[in-house]
């Protein structure tokens, strides 16, 4: 077997580790992988162009930026903070645990497009988490504020990943079904999706307790 195409993976790992521009790393890896697999350079550039073109739908989502930017111009982030500041007893821990549960439950009933980073995390969840943390712990050092914002984004991801597979009509469940069916194991989507529930519960317990632990740690740091 020709193991040379794996050099592309090595380029990705080393390139990311050395912090080269990720676009350069990815395209370098693609060109190297194709050439080492025995294709000529023009064919690899064609394959790259076709694949980039076929995946344009991924970048369509940026058309939401004018909406978010316009609302931020009129104080959307400030409003999100004010809502939290107006709630007595709101803490970063409670807020993000509630958001985690909300994201898991809505994704589990197929509403995975509620939430997401440009639409929800940047304008709403992150400023709310920051405001809640500052309400209970006072002004935070810059690196701690960054950790709170990063945790807000992480919570969105965990909630989405470990909620969406409970919904039976989701792409990953259909992929599993397709792979198993062609191997001679017909399964219904529902048989698969119920087995996403134990992991979803573990994810809620693990990530929820990490959020609460972070909140307690912030209390110690700020004193």
């Amino acid at each position: 077997m020709n193991y040379w195409p794996l050099a592309g993976i090595a380029i990705v790992v080393i390139g990311f580790a050395l912090r080269f521009n990720p676009l350069m790393v990815v395209v370098g890896a693609a060109l190297a992988t194709g050439v080492l697999a025995g294709f000529d350079l023009v064919a690899v550039i064609e394959a790259l162009g076709k694949a980039f073109n076929d995946n344009r739908y991924i970048s369509v989502t940026w058309i939401i930026l004018p909406v978010i930017g316009l609302l931020e111009r009129y104080g959307l982030q400030q409003r999100a903070r004010a809502v939290i500041e107006g709630m007595r007893g709101a803490t970063m821990g409670k807020l993000l645990v509630v958001y985690l549960a909300f994201r898991q439950l809505t994704a589990a009933i197929g509403m995975k497009d509620i939430g997401g980073h440009p639409q929800a995390v940047r304008p709403l969840v992150a400023p709310m988490a920051e405001a809640a943390a500052e309400m209970s712990h006072g002004e935070l050092p810059e690196d701690e504020r960054e950790k709170v914002k990063a945790m807000a984004a992480a919570t969105d991801n965990v909630g989405l990943f470990f909620g969406e597979d409970i919904f039976f009509a989701i792409a990953s469940i259909l992929l599993i079904q397709g792979v198993f069916e062609s191997a001679g194991y017909p399964l219904t989507p529902l048989q698969l999706s119920v087995w996403a529930i134990p992991t979803a519960i573990c994810a809620f317990l693990i990530h929820g307790s990490r959020i609460l632990a972070m909140d307690r740690r912030l209390g110690r740091v700020s004193q």
Binding site: A37, V67, Y74, M111, V121
Partner: protein
């Protein structure tokens, strides 16, 4: 019928406007980069694969040599924002809710009522198309309600887009890398290696290698979808199901979730891990991944336990 092609024209127009505004601002690198992306959206379906490839290489050259810079279009200051947020109150949230509302409610209506029979949208593409419609409706509502200067939405969008910079097309570029990997047979090679390192006779060790293979291969590809068919064909189906008689539903479903733990730990899953760090203007590009590792590792252990107990101990 409304197809993805309509969305590409819409997005291409947005990128073209951002390119022109960058040009007016004297930011040549940004103008060139967004013009090339606009060309890809507007013309990509009509030019050859090679030309599309050259567009990709040109964009990467601009980004790689530091041609993309943050921009600073005129906007409101902090005090103005606080004042207008107090004046407008919670109604400010409403336009932001229009987009998910139209996408989610529209998808449900389209799929579970006779509306679907109209075949208004390209099959299985309705959610993203409805998202695009939602954006246009939200923009119209915000413009009528807030009456900002005419160029404000474009300039505010450009500010956000330029703060994301090259990361904006990284997810799409990684999907293209995945396609080249598939063409070069990387998956088969990895599957072969994973299949050959299995110790004989131990169910638990085989489950471990399967779940580890899912997580690591997902980290490499940035996507559990690419890893799953490879690991299922190399280990899941021949060894765990046919060799040891495990429950196929558990091995499939929870194997995929072990891969999702890998997604939380890799910069290759750019739209979940790198893009949000840029959107939140964090100094550390890997800040989101750092917060996720502590969840992903114990959760991966849980998945191994769930497969072992659910597919073998409870099943037989």
């Amino acid at each position: 019928m409304i197809t993805y092609e309509w969305l590409y024209v819409l997005a291409g127009a947005f990128f073209a406007i951002w390119s022109l505004l960058s040009l007016r601002d004297g930011r040549w690198g940004n103008a060139g980069f967004w013009a090339l992306l606009a060309a890809s959206f507007l013309l990509g379906s009509h030019v050859s694969e090679f030309v599309n490839g050259l567009i990709v290489l040109a964009m990467v050259a601009i980004a790689g040599f530091g041609g993309l810079k943050r921009s600073d279009p005129p906007t409101t200051g902090k005090e103005e924002r606080v004042a207008s947020s107090q004046r407008l109150g919670n109604r400010l949230f409403l336009p932001a809710l229009i987009v998910p509302l139209i996408a989610v409610a529209g998808t449900l209506l389209y799929n579970y009522t006779p509306l679907g029979e109209t075949a208004l949208f390209e099959a299985r593409r309705e959610t993203l198309i409805l998202f695009g419609i939602g954006v246009l409706v939200a923009l119209a509502v915000a413009m009528v309600w807030l009456r900002p200067p005419a160029l404000a939405p474009a300039e505010e969008g450009r500010r956000l887009l330029d703060s994301i910079g090259w990361a904006a097309i990284l997810p799409q570029m990684l999907a293209a890398l995945g396609a080249v990997f598939a063409l070069a047979g990387v998956g088969d090679i990895i599957g072969g290696i994973a299949g050959s390192v299995i110790p004989e006779g131990s169910v638990l060790l085989t489950v471990l290698v399967y779940a580890l293979g899912m997580a690591i291969f997902t980290m490499i590809m940035g996507n559990a979808f690419a890893a799953f068919p490879v690991m299922a064909a190399a280990i899941g189906i021949p060894l765990l199901i046919e060799g040891y008689g495990g429950n196929p539903a558990v091995i499939g479903a929870v194997g995929m979730l072990a891969g999702f733990c890998g997604t939380l730990m890799t910069p290759m899953a750019a739209n979940f891990n790198i893009v949000p760090a840029a959107l939140l203007e964090l100094r550390d590009q890997n800040a989101v991944i750092r917060q996720q590792i502590g969840t992903a590792l114990p959760l991966w252990v849980c998945n191994v336990a769930i497969i072992y107990v659910g597919a073998f101990l409870l099943w037989s």
